[in-house]
């Protein structure tokens, strides 16, 4: 509520999903369907080296032997993987623009509408942005300034061309190509995404961020992000996602890999606002994402913060493998499901090294007919002397048609581990509502205020600009949940 109320109301009045517009742009899209030829064509189009194609084909062959996971608490019609187009790029991208000045103005306009004015951003804000439109990256800002610090921030396609030794060294080492059904699919067909490399001892001079947007009909988005933080380096990375309003469901199956070496720190924040479908549950994005961070080095730290308000179905467990001694993993999450949205999300903290610590704070809000599950795993291996974990997961229910579920798995194999887990489920308190209303605050505002308070622990982990955006999103997503 630190934002001006008028602002929010203007947004609400506009339309519930303000990123739902479609950009009319000529696109070059591969016909729907998936086989080895499609993968070869995709790889050829991107001018990839043989090792990259081999990686894709290996993943594809593994994927063919795998089955879609069914253990999550979500229900959706079977996905026709042959009905999806695995590559779509704006035509004007064919001859890659050398700089943002050469980017199709229509594309730039799209991002301005989304509140990410690439040009102004470059001029004003201290945030470097990589923008991914359907299957390709359309541009990265602040490249030069970052290069001066030795930081590499570019699209992953570019990294395959320009920094093959780094990509080859790390790609698939955190999320192996056969890790799970969606990760295997992504490994076979990923089209673009971001690559970040922070050299030894460097504190990245600015926030890095990527905006993902799905525009074309019938396309899936399979982005791949790889962040490597060398010894003693620090980086904060933000990710935002939107998609147009369409009646059919669209698949988004991303893979994100983070590697933190000794004393390195990676902070990864997400505001996920994919199109959630309409009030009847038609359309919306299937967000099936594998995100994993590897605290490979001693005293390294990886922190995930996510605000999930979009998508029809979410299946996502940003995780940390705490391999290095004294390494630290964190997961802060706010997930909101309204109307017919379903989310099965949480984290995995795998304690391998000594004195490893992890913190999990999950806040789930369910309204309308939304179904929300927290699914978490804390595993302490034999080698993890003195591991510590604290988990808190709270659910808030708005209305009697929604559901909130908690599935916290704990596996302990070392007697020196100390773990605490606390969870509560409740509805918004009538007393709190009455108190706020008796001070003159309208019911809907009071609800949104209380919900924001409920989420505070997570919001405070977000970089400033994102925290404001997250609060707005929450308020818009809760529109109509009361009364």
């Amino acid at each position: 509520m630190s934002t001006n109320t008028q602002d929010i109301e203007a947004l609400v009045r506009n339309r519930p999903y303000s990123a739902g517009f479609i950009t009319e742009i000529d696109a070059e899209t591969l016909p729907p369907g998936l086989n080895e030829d499609v993968i070869r064509a995709l790889s050829a189009r991107k001018n990839e080296p043989q090792w990259m194609l081999d990686f894709r084909l290996k993943a594809y062959r593994r994927w063919l032997t795998m089955r879609e996971p069914t253990w999550a608490h979500v229900h959706y019609p079977k996905i026709d993987y042959q009905g999806i187009s695995y590559y779509s790029a704006p035509k004007s991208m064919k001859d890659r623009p050398k700089s943002l000045d050469e980017v199709d103005p229509k594309l730039l306009e799209t991002y301005t509408k989304l509140g990410i004015p690439l040009k102004e951003q470059e001029m004003l804000a201290g945030v470097a942005v990589d923008v991914v439109f359907d299957s390709v990256s359309v541009g990265t800002t602040f490249k030069k300034k970052l290069a001066e610090a030795g930081v590499i921030f570019c699209s992953i396609s570019e990294a395959v061309q320009e920094h093959p030794e780094l990509v080859r060294k790390y790609l698939g080492t955190v999320v192996p190509f056969g890790d799970n059904f969606y990760a295997a699919l992504n490994s076979a067909v990923f089209t673009d995404g971001s690559f970040v490399y922070i050299p030894r001892g460097v504190r990245c001079p600015m926030e890095l961020s990527t905006y993902f947007r799905i525009n074309e009909r019938n396309t899936g988005q399979f982005e791949r992000t790889l962040i490597v933080a060398e010894e003693g380096s620090h980086v904060s990375y933000l990710e935002g996602c939107t998609a147009p309003q369409r009646d059919e469901n669209q698949l988004h199956a991303a893979v994100v890999e983070l590697v933190a070496l000794d004393d390195a720190q990676i902070k990864y924040s997400t505001v996920q606002n994919w199109y959630p479908g309409d009030e009847q549950g038609r359309g919306g994005i299937y967000n099936f994402v594998t995100k994993r961070g590897d605290c490979r080095g001693a005293r390294s730290k990886i922190s995930w913060t996510q605000v999930e308000t979009g998508s029809a179905v979410t299946w996502k467990y940003p995780s940390c493998i705490l391999r290095g001694d004294d390494s630290v993993g964190e997961f802060y999450s706010v997930a909101l499901t309204h109307h017919h949205q379903q989310a099965d999300t949480g984290t995995k903290m795998i304690h391998v090294g000594r004195n490893t610590r992890s913190t999990i704070v999950s806040k789930g809000i369910s309204a309308g007919r939304g179904q929300q599950s927290y699914r978490g795993l804390v595993r302490v291996l034999e080698s993890a002397e003195n591991a510590r974990n604290y988990t808190q997961c709270d659910s808030l229910l708005i209305g009697d048609q929604c559901g909130a579920h908690t599935f916290p798995y704990t596996e302990i194999r070392n007697p020196t581990a100390i773990l605490e887990h606390e969870a509560t489920t409740s509805k918004i308190s009538d007393d709190q509502l009455f108190y706020a209303r008796s001070r003159g605050i309208g019911e809907e505002d009071a609800v949104s205020m209380i919900v924001n308070g409920f989420c505070k622990q997570v919001f405070k982990e977000l970089p400033m600009e994102f925290a404001v955006e997250a609060q707005k999103l929450l308020q818009i997503s809760l529109e109509g949940a009361v009364g």
């Binding site: 659910s395 009697d400 929604c402 579920h405 916290p408 704990t410 596996e411 581990a417 100390i418 489920t425």
Partner: protein, 410 residues
Amino acid sequence: MLNRDAYESAFARFSETLPAATIAPRRAALQRFLDTGLPGKGLEAWKYTDLSPLGAEAVAAPSVRGRPETPLPQFPGMHTRCWVNGRAPDVDAQAGPVETPSGEHAHDGLANLNAAFALPGIDLLLDDGASLDAPLHALFVTEPQGDGEMVHLRHRIVLGEGASATVVVHELGRGDAPRWSTHLLDIELARGARLRLVRLQDESAGTRGWFEARAAVHGDASLDMTQVDLGGGIVRNDWRPRLLGPGADVVLRGLMAPVGRTHVDSQFLTEHAAAHGRSRQWFRGLAWDRAQGIFNGKVVVRPGAQKTDSEQRIANLLLSPRARINAKPELEIYADDVKCAHGATFGRLDPAALFYLRSRGVDEATARALLIHGFAEAVLQHLEPAELRKAVVARLLERIGNEIDPEVLA
């Protein structure tokens, strides 16, 4: 691979003791078991307990009744009935007709195995307003004569409106031979009925045991259950109470204390199907040596079960470097006006408390035993009468190889 021949021939032998008319449904259950096999990998509910490899082992029909060789435990004020190798001395050894699994359990491998071979166990029916004059101590002693012997029992406790009873289900296994034991217990509590149930599982190290209790708890009825797992080899317990009317109250308590290579997997699934229900799950786990303890507590609140009040508390201690504990306190909630909370902790004996005791002159072994007992007491204090509690504590200390006098703890 399931050793189909062994199960077929065991059934052929067993069916010789059955009245001809009751064989067909049991045979059908056996067939369904052979089709599904033993539960394990691929089933989320059996994630940590994979029984399927055991299907390859030989099995045999239960041997005919024997006489227990050693003195049997008895508790003052209780009425003890004893089953030996699955057969009650005072009941005709012939097993009668059996209800075969249906509905959600139709393809439940173990339930079908149980149905094929089930022998009559506890059958307690109380009329409206009736009560048992003394707690029933149902003792199941097993002394197998050969490898792979199976004892499968079917129990029923039905209490009429306002009826009340206390039942102690006590399984005592002797000998080291590998063997199977399954118990399927159906409980129905009419309005206002009260059942106190204690289950002591003290099976032999060779026992692969499955115990499932399903309970229908109607309005204002109360189920108060305390389970202590002391023994067994591979043990799985499923408690599935359903709260079906307003004012229903279900308390499930559990203590597991596996040692050696014992594997204990307890699952509490409490389902609130009506408004104004109250449920509690209190569970404590201790694991030694290379033992593995699993606890999965789940509370489901169905649509319309408003004003549900539920709480789960789980605490675990790992006492050896190779011991393992897996636990999962789950909530599945489809109603908004509810108060549901759960908490879980994992840790070891508090070094500060140990030091404190030792600084007062208590030797380390005793200090450890005192702290362990203190931890277990949260569950054990609900065992009555005191003689029963003392017997359980003594057995617990014996299992963990501690020589301290249980009287010290009394």
